[in-house]
């Protein structure tokens, strides 16, 4: 069978499974729609959280980014896993005890203020929309490369599928499809990694293969070999990187704190029964995520070494099929500058003749390593599972922010449960259509903004929630001021240094690098904005009235794990 036939088969089977699960687990009440009825087991929740969290960015892009960035790619590995430690220790158990449906629910009740709730809703919408547009785009890329439909058709197919199970099943449908999607995506990621690890080093465990000797009898360690190849071609040493230590530190911190503050991850912990289940499922989620996250750097090393070996200084005419296939997508381009018919792949941009989009590394890796057709097809099905599961989780946050936090809590408080359920479905539908629109017409800045979404979450939610739990005297004035200052500062820095809007547009961005405050990039600035949020909150609090007695009692109550009951809206 050809790769394409295998792809149709595997994608078809997985899609049929997702739809079957959605029909079986459709939601009948708002409680099922928002928190899956509150009775999800820790293991199922751990798997769902892992699939929810691992998006097209983790599955498709991350190993590719690391392959080109080397040590600097560590910021993603540590940042996107270390955040779970913060989530498990500082947030999840207490938010579960609090027992409501959404993050703005917590902010609104803890800070006894509609303003705080609305600020939280706006932050949740900004973060979730930027994220979901990127997922739809990922779906389109996979469809266009492997099923040879154009990207727009791919996006529309993806929209219909997500619409079907998110709108019908709500959190309940999403949770159980995500369990299936986790299985698909982890299998699809591991199989080629294990194959290639055996091929290159003889060790079937990629995490160890990465640090092993090459299989060719030379006794050279793979990483030493790659360092050698990199410096020979003028790149930085793979295990060293070129970002400043301050920047690496700050970006890692912003990603960690941002991870802990992302609403679509936090709400997953509202779906389990008891506080101890919330803790346990955070641990399981990270364990399941770590399987992929410790394999990704190994994949990066394999892919980078393989790629350099295949292309560097070779005849263009002798390139294998995958090279030509990716050339037609425009994601890989060759320009024979010196006309010698050979590919010069070097760091010096004036002499470099090959441009490889980092997003293709994971998808092309099995082809580069010459693996069987079904493995290549499996990667396509895995990429789709990763993108769809995250998109569905985000859509749920968007729809619950609108139907629960705005319509029920602010505008129509006496709406019936049934009415609210329909509002939630309507909001999800509108959100899918908007996300699909951005997937088809991506604003040039989607990729950039996705990375910054973490900075925004770090600068707004994280301090408000942590102070809300650990600092009983924190009041609404402090929290609101902190959130507003934090997110505004982050937006300002992002607009100034990422989009150059105060200095004449995108072209000016590169020249502004020397003006970065303390040498911190926009990606890392979320850490600074977060610290300022904390400081502003605490200072303002000193000069304003303390929170009412009953709010302080809520805080004392959420610190005690027993008597959590089920999530409810009153």
């Amino acid at each position: 069978m050809t790769v394409q036939a295998w792809t149709y088969l595997l994608v078809g089977i997985t899609f049929a499974i997702y739809i079957g699960i959605a029909i079986w687990s459709r939601a009948a009440s708002t409680k099922e729609f928002y928190v899956a009825g509150g009775g999800v087991s820790p293991l199922a929740n751990g798997m769902a959280t892992a699939a929810d969290w691992m998006s097209a960015a983790s599955f498709i892009s991350m190993a590719g980014i690391i392959a080109f960035a080397g040590y600097d790619g560590s910021v993603y590995l540590m940042g996107w896993t270390g955040g779970y430690v913060l989530l498990a220790l500082l947030l999840a158990p207490y938010l579960r005890k609090f027992g409501k449906f959404t993050v703005p629910d917590f902010i609104g009740d803890r800070y006894y203020s509609k303003t705080a709730r609305i600020v939280a809703v706006i932050c949740a919408l900004i973060v979730s929309f930027t994220y979901v547009a990127g997922q739809m785009r990922g779906v389109g890329v996979v469809f266009s490369r492997f099923l040879e439909v154009d990207i727009d058709t791919g996006v529309i197919i993806g929209m219909v599928i997500v619409l079907f199970y998110a709108v019908l099943g709500g959190m309940k449908g999403i949770t159980y499809t995500q369990v299936a999607q986790y299985c698909v995506l982890i299998f699809a990621f591991m199989v080629p990694a294990i194959f290639i690890s055996i091929q290159m080093t003889g060790n079937p465990i990629p995490q160890l293969g990465m640090g092993s000797q090459l299989n060719d009898g030379s006794g050279v360690y793979l990483l030493d070999k790659l360092n050698g190849l990199s410096t020979e071609l003028g790149f930085a040493e793979y295990t060293d990187g070129k970002k400043s230590m301050t920047d690496v530190f700050m970006i890692t911190l912003a990603l960690m704190v941002g991870t802990a503050g992302l609403p679509h991850v936090i709400v997953r912990f509202f779906t389990v029964k008891r506080v101890k289940d919330a803790r346990k499922s955070a641990g399981l989620a990270l364990l399941l995520i770590a399987i992929l996250y410790t394999t990704a750097p190994a994949v990066a090393v394999f892919a980078r070494t393989n790629m350099i070996n295949t292309v560097s200084d070779q005849e263009y005419a002798s390139m294998p099929d995958w090279f030509k296939n990716w050339e037609t997508t425009g994601l890989l381009t060759f320009n024979d500058k010196n006309g010698d018919g050979k590919i010069q792949y070097v760091a010096d941009t004036a002499k470099n003749e090959l441009i490889v989009d980092r997003d293709i590394m994971v998808l092309a890796n099995p082809e580069i390593a010459d693996l069987p057709a079904w493995v290549i097809a499996l990667v396509a099905a895995g990429g789709l599972a990763a993108a769809l599961s995250t998109a569905a989780g985000l859509l749920l946050v968007i729809s619950s922010s609108v139907s629960h936090d705005l319509i029920k809590k602010v505008f129509i408080p006496n709406i019936s449960d049934k009415g609210e359920l329909w509002a939630a479905r309507g909001a999800a539908t509108v959100a899918v259509i908007i996300a699909g629109y951005f997937g088809i017409n991506p604003p040039g800045f989607v990729a950039a903004v996705v990375a910054l979404a973490f900075g925004l979450a770090a600068a707004s939610f994280f301090p408000a929630i942590v102070l809300g739990i650990f600092y009983k005297k924190m009041n609404k004035e402090g929290a609101i001021a902190g959130m507003v200052v934090g997110i505004s500062l982050m937006l300002f820095y992002m607009l100034k240094f990422k989009f150059g809007i105060f200095d004449g547009g995108k072209e000016a961005v590169a020249g502004l690098e020397k003006d970065w405050w303390f040498g911190i990039s926009p990606e890392g600035f979320g850490s600074v904005a977060m610290l300022i949020n904390f400081i502003v909150s605490i200072v303002i609090m000193q000069f304003t009235p303390p929170p009412p007695e009953e709010v302080q009692e809520i805080v004392e109550d959420i610190r005690i794990p027993s008597g959590a009951g089920e999530a409810s809206d009153h």
Partner: protein
């Protein structure tokens, strides 16, 4: 302070102490070993791995997973001790 409140605040103090210890380790393996002291640790090689690089791309993640499970265990014990388990 009532008996109930005393118990609650003792529980909370122990909880915060655990958090402090676990987060210190969290900081040490990632920001410490993986970033601040990376260059010094890279002098040490284990197999094909430079140690600082290993912490940044592998070791810190393993420790994170262990930390959460240790936390789960500690807290379950603490809940039992104070009768907050259910």
């Amino acid at each position: 302070m009532s008996e109930k409140q005393k118990k609650a605040s003792a529980y909370w103090k122990e909880n915060v102490r655990y958090l402090f210890i676990l987060l210190t380790i969290w900081f040490a393996v990632s920001y410490g070993a993986g970033i601040l002291f990376k260059d010094a640790l890279n002098e040490i090689k284990i197999g094909g791995f430079e140690l600082g690089f290993w912490f940044a791309q592998q070791g810190s993640i393993y420790v994170f997973v262990i930390l959460i499970f240790v936390y789960v265990r500690l807290m379950n014990k603490l809940d039992n001790k104070y009768g907050y388990n259910e």
